[in-house]
């Protein structure tokens, strides 16, 4: 699927930051025209999302999760061994509370990398080290998705 900005006749690019999808099976993707900056959002319901997810790929390009062995299982199994969960990408100095971990895990895996990036960038800009439910609510409110 490709998106075209009609006034500019230019391809719109997927935005890999600044999205916070619903913690269900709904997909949110933002596209921006590089020329005029106009943005649109593609929203899908959970059935449409399932079709996309069948490919086992990540929207916005592969995140570090895709490069981690058993990356999808490590981030999607509700009960998995600790070493499986820890094998995920290094998140630097940030600490995620259990609530925040649970909430980010409810984001469909193929947009989870983008959602994580949004939360981490939001926290970084504000000098916040602990990511909790309240911060995620704030991200949702500010980002508007």
């Amino acid at each position: 699927m490709k998106f075209l900005c009609i006034p500019c006749d230019e391809q719109m690019a997927t935005q890999v930051d600044g999205i916070m999808p619903e913690e269900k099976n709904n997909l949110v993707l933002k596209f921006k025209c590089k020329k005029c900056g106009h943005m649109i959002a593609m929203l899908t319901n959970k059935f449409e999302t399932e079709f996309v997810s069948k490919l086992g790929v990540e929207a916005g390009g592969p995140s570090d999760m895709a490069k981690t062995p058993f990356g999808m299982m490590g981030s999607t199994l509700a009960e998995g061994k600790e070493e499986l969960k820890k094998a995920g990408p290094d998140e630097g100095d940030f600490e995620w509370t259990q609530e925040a971990k649970d909430r980010i895990q409810r984001v469909p895996f193929f947009v989870r990398g983008m959602a994580k990036k949004t939360v981490l960038n939001f926290a970084k800009e504000r000098g916040i080290k602990v990511i909790d439910g309240a911060l995620m609510d704030e991200v949702r409110e500010k980002v508007g998705m």
Partner: protein, 297 residues
């Protein structure tokens, strides 16, 4: 206005490149494995996993390097059968995940090795809202990761222990198009043969090569006098084999010592390879090897 073909990519996700990259990783892993064989049955409870483990042991005794992929994601038992405790630490490196080292050096990968305790079920984070389609999607991706990210190394044979039913074969033939074939396992009960016949028909229609049919629990062997007796009042498996035009690879008598070995990590073949049942399993393995050799020629 530009058309679809005029736009160079999909706008940044590079979906096609991701799919190709995954396939290439999988290919690199599978290219190190000479032969891949699925053991399946439309019916549950016919002894697939136990037979898979013991057939793997027979292959090791014939000098082959063997691995088992436990494709039964929700009812994994290969780890327990081959003595790989789910408490063993999972070794994850950037190159992949080390398989478990089972009895007789058989490499295994099973969902059980990923779960924190013996009674942990496989539940995806989508939880109770997950639809059947969603769960099926997760399982397909999980199967791909188990194959692609496990450091199998060089193997002569990878046996794939399939879950009951015949739906998973769609994934397997997509992931392993060079699959040598499937071994269909049944027991003498009419219900089992009824369901296995559907599995055989499906595989034939999909163009999946069928190595042959195995009748497990064909008879009962008395552990005291080694005499065989009938265990089920069943239909003639030879008729099923003839009707479906697939070879009957062998009939395996039930031996109570096989079930006693379950969970000890020691395989029946290791201790009772000379028994009637042990020899019947070995015969099935030899027939499979003959099939693969003929196919290679």
């Amino acid at each position: 206005m530009k058309t679809y073909e005029d736009l160079p990519s999909d706008g940044g996700s590079n979906i096609m490149d991701q799919v190709i990259d995954q396939r290439e990783q999988l290919r690199r892993r599978l290219d190190q494995i000479k032969h891949k064989v699925c053991l399946m049955s439309g019916k549950g409870g016919v002894g697939k996993s136990s037979l898979t483990a013991n057939m793997a042991a027979c292959l090791v005794l014939r000098g082959h390097k063997v691995g088992i992929l436990d494709a039964d994601l929700n009812g994994p038992s290969i780890g327990k059968l081959l003595g790989v405790s789910n408490q063993e630490k999972l070794e994850i490196t950037p190159e992949g995940v080390e398989p478990g080292q089972g009895s007789m050096g058989i490499k295994i990968m099973s969902m059980d090795m990923l779960l924190p305790s013996a009674d942990s079920p496989v539940i995806w984070t989508e939880g109770k809202d997950a639809t059947a389609v969603w769960v099926s999607t997760m399982e397909s991706t999980a199967l791909q990761e188990l194959l692609k990210d496990t450091i199998w190394g060089e193997l002569d044979y990878l046996l794939i222990d399939m879950p009951p039913g015949s739906d998973r074969i769609d994934n397997i033939r997509d992931l392993i198009p060079e699959l040598d074939g499937v071994v269909e396992i049944t027991i003498p009960s009419p219900i089992s043969q009824h369901i296995v016949s559907k599995s055989i028909t499906k595989n034939s229609q999909l163009g999946v090569s069928i190595i042959g049919l195995v009748e497990n629990m064909a008879t009962y062997v008395c552990p005291h006098c080694n005499q065989e007796g009938q265990l089920f009042e069943g239909e003639d498996v030879e008729k099923l084999s003839k009707d479906k035009q697939i070879p009957l690879l062998g009939r395996i008598p039930f031996d109570t010592r096989m079930s006693r070995q379950t969970g000890t990590g020691k395989l029946f073949i290791e201790e009772y390879g000379d028994s009637v049942t042990g020899q019947a399993i070995a015969q099935v393995v030899d027939n499979i090897l003959k099939f693969i050799q003929n196919k290679s020629n």
